[in-house]
């Protein structure tokens, strides 16, 4: 018990896994107990086994997998929006971090959107872009890029000045200082910003697919809700969480491969 209230004494990996799995199992158990007892009606809370069978139904039924199709559509939208976030957002963040005057000019246009109700933009985007794919991708893009740009800017500004001075002293042009000394140092934190952007986009995917989606996980959930198929709604939400977690793990792994020196620092 001596080490219990000690933030600097983490449990060993085996114990940590045990505690994590244990708490998830406890919730599942509680959920099953509540569902089995009949205290809450099935229309309000589907039982875990109902969710599992709904998952099986969505994964394979009548010769095709609704879940796979929906995942591919949602994943595709996310990927396109993510690439746009990277291609457009990272250069803007770098330029803002590198030139304080550009930052002064652009930050009032970018920073407030972090706390803006991005969801409220949806009707406006529909008005401007219609109800097709471009509206959905634009929505995901805006939702994520407003987080990414300030993070990239902060990553640039967090690089110790000594790197800049050192390059300047060696005769680097101002742009060479940024490109050769500052940006390489900021890359791990820029990668963190991309990881956050993808997490944000997974949370927005259901909203993006709210309007006129014929395919996608958001549409799948939306459709199930319409028919009060709560077991399918639960299954869809769990799939989105799992996909978001998978994306996160994959990107963390990629980041460690690309910037192995960061953890050694």
């Amino acid at each position: 018990m001596g080490e219990f209230w000690n933030p600097y004494a983490p449990p060993d990996p085996q114990r940590r896994r045990l505690l994590g799995v244990g708490s998830v199992l406890a919730v599942l158990l509680l959920w099953s107990a509540v569902a089995a007892s009949g205290l809450v009606s099935q229309t309000r809370l589907p039982a875990p086994w109902d969710v599992v069978s709904a998952f099986a139904y969505l994964a394979w039924n009548d010769g095709h997998s609704m879940l796979l199709t929906a995942t591919l559509w949602s994943g595709g939208r996310l990927l396109v929006a993510g690439l746009l976030v990277i291609i457009i957002g990272i250069p803007i963040g770098i330029v803002m971090g590198a030139a304080p005057q550009i930052n002064a000019a652009l930050s009032p246009l970018v920073d407030p959107f972090r706390s803006a109700p991005v969801v409220a933009l949806l009707p406006i985007l529909v008005m401007w872009m219609g109800i097709g794919e471009s509206m959905k991708i634009a929505f995901l893009f805006i939702g994520a890029v407003v987080y990414l740009i300030p993070m990239v800017r902060d990553a640039i500004q967090a690089v110790p000045q000594s790197y800049w001075i050192g390059a300047r002293d060696l005769g680097a042009t101002p742009w060479e200082c940024i490109r050769q000394a500052v940006v390489p140092m900021a890359m791990p934190r820029i990668a963190d910003a991309v990881i956050v952007a993808f997490s944000v986009m997974w949370t927005y995917i259901t909203v993006a697919e709210y309007v006129n989606a014929r395919e996608g996980l958001g549409q799948l959930i939306q459709n199930a809700r319409r028919f009060s198929a709560w077991d399918q709604v639960f299954a869809g939400i769990i799939v989105i969480i799992a996909l978001a977690l998978l994306t996160y793990r994959l990107m963390i792994w990629l980041k460690r491969r690309l910037y192995p020196w960061e953890t050694q620092q």
Partner: protein
């Protein structure tokens, strides 16, 4: 400019840097402080350096030594006009910004963590300025020679995080010397190292200087270091920095421990400390023995 090499791969003394005349005249530096006032950091400092040699700029911490050094290198980290008044002349030409005659070595070595030791030393040749001046075969040879000279020949492929603090500073020294500068500016380069590593690095600097005698301006707040390395010791007072003392040391390097304990060395140390205590201002100096 291809210098002849000794068998050990170091440039021979005959290929020393051309002598360079550096003159600081009536340097005043002020920074804006709170409520519109200005803080004077450097007060009418006039110094000239002509011969190759190791010049120690000794003063209490925070006295403005580094600011003087940045002026010599033409680097303006704070975006404030430097110097506020006065002039820095290098070979008779007023220095307004970064120039090619000097290279700086910092206490916080600015090695790129994503590049190998070799690529860190070769870093200047990634820049337009130097890439066009030397053929690749020439600078690759220079990098190899310098890695040998600083004792990192077998570490060329490692990354900075795999090196110790002293080894990282060796990389920084090699990167500075790969450009064969006329002026080597050192900003408390060994200040963050432990005592034993610092001694090794001081010895390395003496060795490197012998194979490439240039004008070294070395900022330190360590009295012992100043007496160990300097051909000349310039003592700066606390803020605002003024030249409190300026003298030569004739004793050849490396200076044995016996000399460091001699009456002559003790006398110089007392002289420096007396000057620093007499001048007003805050900040500290270090005496290691």
């Amino acid at each position: 400019m291809t210098a002849p090499m000794t068998a050990a791969g170091r440039p021979v003394a005959a290929a020393a840097a051309k002598s360079v005349a550096v003159v600081l005249k009536d340097i005043v530096q002020e920074y804006p402080a709170h409520s519109g006032a200005v803080t004077r950091v450097i007060d009418r400092v006039t110094l000239s350096f002509e011969q190759p040699g190791i010049n120690m700029l000794l003063g209490p911490s925070g006295c403005g030594k580094s600011t003087l050094l940045h002026m010599l290198g033409g680097v303006r980290p704070m975006g404030v006009k430097t110097p506020t008044s006065g002039s820095v002349m290098i070979d008779g030409v007023e220095c307004h910004g970064a120039h090619d005659d000097s290279v700086m070595v910092f206490q916080r070595y600015a090695n790129r963590p994503d590049l190998s030791v070799f690529d860190n030393v070769a870093f200047p040749f990634r820049l337009k300025l130097w890439k066009s001046r030397e053929p690749e075969a020439e600078w690759r040879q220079r990098v190899t020679d310098l890695l040998k000279a600083v004792g990192l020949a077998d570490k060329a492929g490692l990354r900075p995080a795999q090196l110790s603090g002293g080894q990282n500073q060796r990389v920084a020294l090699a990167r500075a010397l790969v450009l064969r500068p006329k002026i080597l500016l050192m900003d408390e380069p060994f200040g963050a190292l432990d005592a034993q590593t610092r001694e090794e690095m001081q010895q390395l600097l003496i060795d490197l200087y012998q194979s490439w005698p240039c004008l070294v301006v070395f900022v330190t707040h360590d009295v012992t270091e100043a007496l160990l390395l300097g051909d000349r010791v310039i003592v700066l007072s606390g803020q605002p920095a003024r030249v409190a003392d300026d003298f030569l040391i004739g004793e050849p390097r490396p200076r044995a421990a016996a000399w460091q304990r001699s009456a002559a060395a003790q006398g110089l140390e007392e002289r420096i400390l007396a000057q620093l205590h007499a001048s007003p201002g805050k900040g500290q100096v270090r005496v290691s023995i």
